[in-house]
């Protein structure tokens, strides 16, 4: 078909088209004689509908002059009517052929660093923001309609933009929000919120060049992944271990916390921020790179993960099993306690010389071995039985021998806590212990655990629950979880458990970073996450903010914050908020002066060099501060008597209750 090459613009100026400089499905692009800054799009005969003409006219009317947005500036008419439009000339190659393919990225922009990617995002978002301010939704944001050069970028294919009631009739799966996947793009108007999804996807695919946010190990097709919100990158304690293999998760680790949080919110929680919010965060990121806070390389060198497949959720389930094992038949009726915690195996008994008198630390024989039991749980909370046998089992054996042979214990009570409660293969664990060491084990429910922990403290001050005046708040910071319970003289009236124990927090830190992540950043980000989670948790549980008579604290973080050694000295110490804050600071200094990157810390052997204790304090104490603030308390009494003393006390009390006239237990 011959097209006469004489055309007119909307002011009836004559336009002469020169050579064809591009072509697409809908039409071709021509240069214009005498005008270097503009080009014309001439539609193919059947491709220009009257709707499209109206839409182009609307876009022209808006007279939007924003550099890089190649929006129609005039219609293009010939003797038959409107046949196309005139727009600013674009330059460069589309993102899909450059930034999104590593070898092409390196070929076209060899000098680029991460800063260039961030500034590309910022520049693109500014254009989107401008369009939104003029009530235009792009609709079909994708990698092929944004062209990039070394320093500029251009939005093309603007005639499909959504304006007034004219929908954007096209789209691509990657950039389509879950709720409109599979819908006919022609049939509805997109919302700003849906555009924000596309915007976040684009930012993701620029910062992790070319990688779609929902690609994951074991993934099905992209549309399904998006609909199911299968976002696989780790954030805080939401860790799937399904992020695509390769450099991608390492790039992710290096992103600022706020950026990761925003992606997580968009792709997992459907919370999609508008351009302004992105701009603030990306500009901060840009400065951070300039200041050396964040890596400037596009593809980080690091490929060494910290660990794989560990649990970040130790909680759940009721009590399970029985605690009593008869070991001997002496007339002493002596009892012993073995506590199997998330971190250790511990044994407690009371000296033969002492009866049921006043509590004295020195009357007790204590023995403990750190076993890091919780680390044997994988991300499905299944206990690795080999790990258990080798690291925990033989320590249990040692304790049982102590109780039987040296301690001459008649009744052994063995109780287990969070890690055991969480394990999906409890039966395997309990039968291994039974078969190999001949003892019964009871897995305590959280409530039983809280009760026993408070009883331990009360026992030490010669009281029982029905002696209480007012409300007692018990904060138990364990390896698996943080338990918060409120008691009065009638017992527990509220207890709740937060899956932020010290082992869990270490796993969060390790799962969100790699060996080359700076420790400073790792600590900062982890702290942000756990403080945030604690705040949200306390609000969501709506724990009663009632007056608290006394707040009692248990756990490594709390006892060590006293700066004193040994449970005996720590017991009864009153920790004030200011002291806790100072302790956080000094712990932080000790950690960051000794270690530069996460890989410097030998987590496996952390217990030997007290790193475990330092980390417990560094992360446990900020949580404690949040809890104290919620209840408006400014001090906490340290209890050096853990759960095991409580079990001991309960057994004694119960026995004495039942056997008033018989020989007492010791």
């Amino acid at each position: 078909m011959h097209i006469p090459n004489i055309f007119f613009d909307n002011k009836n100026n004559q336009i002469i088209l020169n050579e064809k400089i591009g072509s697409g499905g809908e039409g071709d692009i021509y240069s214009i004689e005498g005008v270097t800054s503009k080009v014309a799009k001439l539609y193919k005969a059947n491709k220009l509908t009257s709707n499209k003409i109206t839409k182009i006219s609307l876009l022209v009317e808006k007279q939007l002059g924003f550099p890089g947005i190649c929006i129609p500036t005039s219609v293009l008419n010939n003797s038959t009517g409107t046949v196309g439009y005139i727009m600013t000339k674009a330059d460069g190659k589309d993102l899909g052929k450059t930034v999104f393919i590593k070898p092409q990225l390196e070929k076209y922009f060899p000098m680029w660093t991460r800063k260039d990617l961030v500034s590309l995002c910022i520049s693109i978002i500014k254009k989107i923001k401008f369009l939104h301010e003029h009530k235009i939704i792009i609709g079909d944001i994708n990698q092929f309609n944004i062209l990039v050069t070394e320093n500029e970028n251009y939005f093309v294919d603007t005639d499909s933009y959504q304006v007034n009631n004219f929908p954007c009739p096209v789209g691509t799966i990657y950039f389509t929000a879950p709720e409109i996947q599979g819908k006919d793009y022609k049939s509805f108007l997109r919302t700003y919120d849906q555009e924000y999804f596309a915007l976040a996807t684009l930012v993701f695919m620029i910062l992790l060049p070319g990688k779609a946010p929902y690609a994951y190990q074991g993934g099905g097709n992209p549309a399904e992944n998006i609909k199911n919100k299968n976002f696989s990158y780790p954030f805080g304690d939401d860790i799937s271990w399904r992020a695509p293999k390769g450099v991608w998760e390492f790039i992710w680790h290096g992103l600022p916390y706020e950026i990761k949080e925003t992606f997580y919110n968009v792709f997992r929680l459907d919370k999609r921020p508008p351009p302004d919010e992105w701009l603030a965060k990306l500009e901060k990121y840009y400065l951070g790179i300039e200041n050396g806070d964040y890596d400037d390389t596009i593809f980080p060198q690091s490929q060494s993960r910290n660990l794989e497949y560990v649990t970040t959720n130790i909680g759940g389930a009721d009590s399970y099993g029985t605690d009593e094992t008869r070991l001997g038949y002496s007339s002493w009726n002596k009892i012993g306690i073995i506590e199997l915690s998330t971190k250790a195996v511990k044994y407690l008994s009371r000296s033969m010389r002492k009866r049921n008198d006043e509590f004295q630390f020195d009357d007790f024989y204590r023995k403990g071995e750190l076993t890091l039991t919780g680390k044997g749980l994988d991300n499905q909370n299944k206990m690795d039985m080999d790990y258990f046998k080798n690291n925990v089992g033989f320590q249990i054996g040692k304790m049982v021998n102590s109780a039987r042979d040296r301690g001459r214990v008649d009744y052994l009570y063995t109780i287990a806590t969070a890690a055991y409660r969480a394990a999906t293969n409890k039966d395997d664990i309990l039968s291994l212990i039974k078969n190999d060491y001949g003892i019964n084990v009871k897995i305590l429910s959280k409530e039983e655990e809280a009760n026993a922990t408070l009883d331990a403290f009360l026992f030490s001050i010669g009281k029982k629950k029905n002696d209480l005046n007012g409300n007692y708040l018990l904060i138990d910071m364990g390896a698996g979880s943080v338990e918060i319970s409120i008691f009065d003289k009638d017992g527990i009236n509220n207890t709740t458990s937060m899956s932020l124990g010290t082992t869990v927090i270490q796993n969060i830190l390790l799962s969100n970073t790699n060996q080359d992540t700076e420790l400073n950043q790792a600590i900062r980000d982890t702290e942000k996450f756990i403080k945030d989670k604690t705040k949200k948790f306390l609000q969501s549980k709506s724990l009663p903010q009632i007056p608290i008579e006394k707040c009692v604290g248990v756990g490594t973080a709390i006892t060590n914050a006293t700066g004193l050694k040994g449970n005996k000295k720590q017991h009864g110490f009153v920790l004030e908020i200011d002291r806790i804050k100072r302790k956080i600071q000094s712990t932080n200094e000790r950690l960051t002066t000794n270690f530069v990157v996460v890989g410097d810390i030998d987590f496996e052997n952390a217990r030997r060099n007290r790193i475990d204790t330092l980390l417990s304090m560094r992360f446990g104490l900020p949580i404690l501060i949040e809890i104290l603030a919620y209840f408006k308390i400014d001090e906490i009494v340290v209890s050096g008597t853990g759960l095991w003393y409580g079990i001991y006390a309960q057994k004694i009390w119960m026995y004495n209750e039942n056997n008033k006239n018989q020989k007492e237990l010791i």
Binding site: P103, T172, A212, A223, V247, W248
Partner: protein
């Protein structure tokens, strides 16, 4: 680095969604002479034009299986940068069933590799070309192929070469898309069209409908 390592490393480094393409080609004795020469230059042209496409070269992964005497894997799926163009030679009878089954096995393996590493992929394509009749029962490969097509897990392009090609056989593999007969020995035109189609696919998103260049088909097919 072993071949296996390269195959894996490429999946890990290159985020581009993949278009797996199986060429299942008849290399039986009857293809000797001009047909196999033309087919060879067609295949060569195909590789070259995919390599020259800025997106498709990172996206397309080609495997070549021939059936002539026995089924043979000439080329397994891999990034095209690492592949060398195979040369076909004609010999033996026409074990089409084995050929198609082998291609489907390779495809399954590769799909699992994509999935294991978190690489998105498009619905795979299979080009099945023959100039004669299969010399074995094709029931098992027909069953597998049709099942995949029905569940939208495969697109097939059955092509008959010359008058001796048995259209009915090809029809069994392709319940909806009619087999086409190659115009003379226009292999080059066909492969040019194929590479352009792949180029289009590679610029879409996996799962999207892509319109093929229907007009272009007349350059190589008897319509």
């Amino acid at each position: 680095m072993t071949d296996l390592k390269i195959r894996e490393q490429d999946l890990v480094d290159n985020p581009t969604p993949r278009v797996p393409i199986c060429l299942v080609l008849d290399s039986s004795y009857s293809m000797s002479g001009e047909p196999i020469d033309e087919l060879n230059s067609g295949v060569e042209l195909f590789f070259e034009s995919v390599k020259n496409d800025e997106v498709a070269q990172w996206s397309a992964e080609i495997c070549v299986v021939t059936f002539g005497g026995f089924a043979k894997k000439l080329l397994d799926f891999e990034g095209i940068q690492n592949q060398s163009i195979p040369t076909l030679s004609a010999d033996g009878n026409t074990p089409m069933d084995d050929g198609v089954n082998m291609a489907l096995d390779l495809l399954e393996t590769r799909k699992r590799e994509y999935s294991d590493r978190g690489v998105d992929y498009y619905q795979p394509w299979m080009v099945l070309m023959t100039d004669g009749e299969p010399t074995q029962d094709i029931a098992s490969s027909v069953y597998r192929t049709v099942q995949m097509i029905d569940s939208k897990k495969l697109t097939i392009f059955p092509i008959a070469i010359g008058d001796g090609a048995h259209l009915h056989t090809l029809e069994q593999y392709s319940p909806s898309r009619k087999p086409l007969r190659l115009k003379g020995l226009n292999f080059s035109e066909f492969f040019e069209w194929l590479s352009q189609s792949i180029s289009r696919v590679s610029q879409s998103t996996p799962g999207e409908k892509v319109e093929l260049d229907v007009d272009g088909i007349k350059d190589w097919a008897v319509l």
